[in-house]
Symmetry: C2
Subunit: 112 residues, 2 copies
DNA sequence: TTCTTATGCATAAAAAACTTAGGTATTATA
DNA sequence: TATAATACCTAAGTTTTTTATGCATAAGAA
């Protein structure tokens, strides 16, 4: 993706989350959805997206279904059962990460 | 650092933030402070920390002051003026990133 | 007294995750 | 008829990290 270095590491979590909410999506659709959801703040590059999808599939978290639309090929991805589990733990991890970061950036003054 | 891939990219922002709040710190102190602030959730590795400090210094964001304590050498870092500016924009970027991520992970249902 | 842990710095090789820059092909639009 | 949008892909290069070292002093345990 473009934008900042901060996004590193969160791409596959984002993919898992979107697939959990939309049942099945194809790559290009994911890039557009992310742009829409983030009002253009986050743009996933294809060079990042496709390898990430392939890795998630290789890890058994996604399954593929091809579909031809307007004579163009779409590769629809959906979560496997393992993928759904993985999504849960990745989201938890992401939320813990955000809390941890908040604890540094926005530290609560100690009560002592 | 150890932990997860999510921390990628946020290390130098964390360093800048800590230096802004503590005036001057040395490397080892930073690792301990981060452990403390995050209750052990985040552990900065030295292999990540020192190169990051050197890069921030090379970029003109940090200045160094050596000090000998108990016959051990400490390298104290403090923000330059440019470093303080950089800290402000990095923190803004980090907060925007968190909001963006929240927008994906915890999307508000549209009112339409 | 000697080994381990803690303190304090550092770098180099490898891995991981990206960006950048290409490539192919179809359809819609200017 | 050229460009943009849709739809997939990969390879080279960059950046940032982990892992694995190395050196040195001080403190504490065996």
């Amino acid at each position: 993706m473009s934008n900042s270095k901060l996004y590193k590491g969160s791409l596959s979590t984002i993919i898992l989350k979107l697939l959990a909410e939309n049942n099945k999506m194809y790559g290009y659709e994911i890039t557009q959805k992310v742009k829409e959801l983030t009002q253009g703040e986050l743009t996933i590059t294809e060079g990042a997206l496709y390898p990430a999808l392939h890795k998630l599939e290789a890890d058994g978290f996604l399954e593929v279904e091809m579909q031809r639309v307007d004579n163009r090929l779409r590769k629809y991805y959906k979560l496997t059962q393992a993928g759904n589990q993985e999504k849960v733990s990745r989201i938890e991890e992401l939320e813990r990460f955000i809390e941890t970061i908040q604890g540094i950036v926005n530290p609560k003054p100690s009560l002592g």
